[in-house]
Assembly symmetry: C2
Homo-oligomer: 203 residues x 2
């Protein structure tokens, strides 16, 4: 993803300086991790002095919270949209995986923060995020349950399989390399196929 696209992805954040700080923080957190990133690093990537950060965010953790929250809201919206769409359970599950994986590949920097920096959130922020994560899990679980009920899927352990499907998608943020030869679309397609094979009834 280009720098311009990154800035556009955070378009709803104003003013401009606050958005630049978020974009800079996403880069830095994804590259080095939250704890290894300094406020000076974030500020200088955004072209500001260290003090400027504190005009827009109370603490470094609040920046992390902002990023994590937006990422989780997007993820949840994506999964619930797929759940509520028209079509067979197989079609809806494939659509959910395709979208979720493509997002984690395309926005793998944000994805890394969303998925791997939860432990750095303040307690009250963490509690809020956990609610959304449970809802995401429930969205996938309900599609799988639908497929089993309709006789499309043959799944012995619905909860365990839900966990595995989500886990598979999430981990894309860890290994995806934009310089590699796989595009986000291709990975989404491959994964949608693999997930369908995991759940489909053999016939």
């Amino acid at each position: 993803m280009s720098a311009e696209a990154a800035i556009q992805a955070w378009g709803e954040i104003t003013p401009d300086a606050a958005r630049r700080l978020v974009v800079a923080a996403v880069e830095a957190f994804a590259e080095r991790g939250y704890h290894a990133t300094t406020t000076r690093d974030i500020a200088s990537r955004a072209g500001m002095s260290p003090a400027a950060l504190y005009i827009h965010y109370k603490t470094k953790e609040e920046l992390l919270y902002q990023i994590s929250k937006v990422g989780h809201v997007r993820s949840l919206a994506m999964l619930e949209e797929a759940r509520d769409a028209e079509g067979t359970a197989a079609e809806r599950l494939a659509a959910a995986v395709r979208a979720f994986v493509r997002w984690h590949a395309e926005h793998h920097t944000t994805g890394r923060i969303v998925q791997y920096e939860l432990g750095a959130l303040a307690e009250e922020h963490f509690a809020e995020i956990v609610v959304m994560r449970r809802q995401s899990e429930e969205a996938i679980r309900s599609v799988i349950r639908d497929g089993v009920a309709a006789g499309e899927f043959d799944v012995a352990d619905v909860s365990g399989t839900t966990l595995a499907v989500l886990s598979l998608c999430i981990d894309v943020a860890r290994w995806f390399n934009p310089a590699g030869h796989r595009t986000p679309d291709e990975v989404g397609e491959l994964y949608a196929d693999l997930v369908l094979r995991m759940v489909r009834r053999a016939d």
Copy 2:
């Protein structure tokens, strides 16, 4: 895993104090992450003063390297053993996944460090570890290739599927909760089944 079991898992490390430091570091790194863990925290968990750490390890990073190295050696040995075993490709792939997943569940603290703290390694240590990771990937890939050649598997993208299988197993270290109701054996069994469904020829 109990504290005694943890200590035994690092049994080959001597003297006793060095082993206690490693066990303490594994706990601390897994809980908070490498960068958020202080040498004072590690030392006090091991029942020593901060300075004692430096008698056994030159730096905090060397402790991480020790942990990462042992973990990678174990992982690789496990996967290569499964690859070289007797049996069909399906049997060998299932055995590999079962063992790999069980290990990541049972030793999920070590697993987290092995899989998620690579970026904190010194450059020369990282390079050494990357070699082992490539060998691990190659072990799984060769079993899948065997299965395709034997007509047991139907896999369009061998490399992509290898990546997905490894990714699925690795991510167990992130979500596994020993207080949950799933045992490492159960997760291993579930995952072996899911992976076979991902690759098997429908007939």
